[in-house]
Subunit: 315 residues, 2 copies
């Protein structure tokens, strides 16, 4: 049975875990700083160091799975563009890692890896068709169809946060209008609450805004918990957009599960109740809903590293 | 090598074709009236009659593929709801057909079959990830991912025409607002042109509207060809919505090809130029476009029957 070292490459930290068999739990895990500002060559060295730290004595049938930010070209093992990793533009990460590591390597996008993790060992176990959404500063995701990860013809699939939900909606960070990420991410809620308060609406958040000059999604969550009507309304609007979008995706893909991860899910029913209401309102036929679970991700921060293990196990 | 009889079940006609091998061309084809108003049992008899008419002498390894309107539950071989076929509500078509036909049967949705046909032997040959859209009175479609048809957990996938493109847009026939079908189908264009003319705008279509009381998409196409500005504008708006929607689908699925079929495609560049412009405007990264062909379907009316043959060949 394959042994696997799985890597979760982030802009701040690299995590490496050793799995003695292709399933959780891992035997050991390390976390080291990425030092991403020192450039691509250094980042590759850091990954190799993390791998060495968890390397087992017996390396028979050892495989390596890597989850990296940015869109990935799986055929060429190339990171097309990772904003937080200096030098990672059309960067052949797999080839450069392979020079330092003699074991077979598979490379995937980090949100796709979290999707694969939740599908294999988290909230999506047992499904063949599943959509994973991670909702925090941005909105990312992954899609499983017929038991396989959807990467697309050029590795660019799964950009669920960058689908237009409202052509008249707010501008997205990517420069396009009305994307899901511009309507239902944490920063989009902070933006909406700020605008309403600046327009004169009453909220317990007004004093925080005056004091700090800005709001966060965490502020909104606290305010909602203490009964703030404006915070609840803003969160509900974001949840409704998410529900509409899930209905759209269901009509196209009819998944058995939609798994929701990321910090925004900590808002709980303030976000999820309006999401479920909008989903019910926009779905075309109740059969979609009776055959689909919408639930919260279960693996937390380990989803990506477990998914990278699943990817490596499939090679 | 398998021999196949493929069926294209429609509200008006049943077509049955015999393929001596699992590829086009078919050896012979028949078309008989469905007589759909006489109920489900009669329709099953009619299908069996059509099959007998093209039955070969040697029935060794003969398989049957059937494309039917309506969402299909593939596990139970059941047509969930086909509006134009009396009695086809949660109707176990496969089981009833199997009582009359001793050869193995596979059943699929008609738009999915057209998708499979274009993928296997039409404009989508050679792709692993493909989206098929048929744009006429309604908008239907099918999706191929990793070389497999996407049917979803309950057979309800592929309802691409019923994804919301503009939450403030026109009402769809299904009762939901702003679906693609309400913004880019033939009738949606006729509706928009009618509204503009009734609001006093000038168009060569005004006299047709007065004379016949209604417009069709074909009227708009003729008017566009003779230089009518209003007709061109209405068609362009529909094409733009289609382009936006294709950008959305590309971000999620990153297909190698998007294949466009259905009568509206006869509008040619009046529809396709604005579609391509909107696609370019809304796509997040040019890599999506350089790795994706957007092209017109090539099999015409035979797409469905060739797709049903492909489905049967896969069993």
């Amino acid at each position: 049975m394959a042994k696997i070292i799985a890597i979760d490459l982030g802009g701040t930290n690299i995590r490496a875990a050793f799995f003695a068999a292709p399933h959780p739990p891992y035997e050991r895990i390390v976390k080291i700083p990425t030092e991403a500002d020192q450039g691509a060559e250094h980042i590759v060295d850091r990954i190799a160091e993390a791998v060495q730290e968890v390397m087992p004595d017996d390396t028979d049938d050892l495989r390596i799975g890597v989850g990296s930010p940015g869109p990935i070209d799986p055929k060429r093992g190339m990171v097309l563009n990772a904003a937080n990793l200096k030098g990672f533009v059309n960067y052949p990460l797999k080839a450069h890692l392979q020079e330092k590591l003699e074991h077979p390597i598979r490379l995937g996008n980090d949100a796709d890896m979290a999707c694969l993790g939740e599908w294999g060992f988290g909230a999506g176990v047992g499904t063949r068709n599943m959509i994973y959404l991670t909702i925090s500063t941005g909105i990312g995701g992954g899609i499983m169809i017929n038991g396989q990860l959807v990467v697309g013809g050029a590795g660019l699939a799964g950009e669920i946060g960058h689908m237009t939900v409202d052509p008249e909606g707010a501008m997205c960070g990517c420069g396009h209008r009305g994307h899901l990420e511009a309507l239902a991410s944490g920063p989009s809620m902070a933006r909406d609450a700020t605008a309403l308060i600046q327009a004169g609406e009453a909220s317990s958040l007004a004093s925080i805004l005056t004091q700090r000059g800005k709001l966060t999604a965490i502020d909104l969550n606290h305010a909602a918990e203490t009964g703030d009507e404006l915070a609840r309304r803003v969160i509900a609007k974001a949840g409704s957009y998410m529900g509409l979008h899930i209905a759209n995706l269901a009509h196209a893909l009819n998944p058995e599960a939609v798994i929701l991860g990321g910090g925004v899910i900590n808002m709980g029913d303030f976000f999820l109740d309006p999401l479920r209401q909008a989903l019910k309102q926009h779905i075309m036929h109740e059969n979609y809903l009776t055959t689909m679970d919408v639930k919260v991700a279960s693996l937390g921060d380990d989803a990506g590293i477990i998914g990278a293990m699943v990817l490596a196990s499939q090679q």
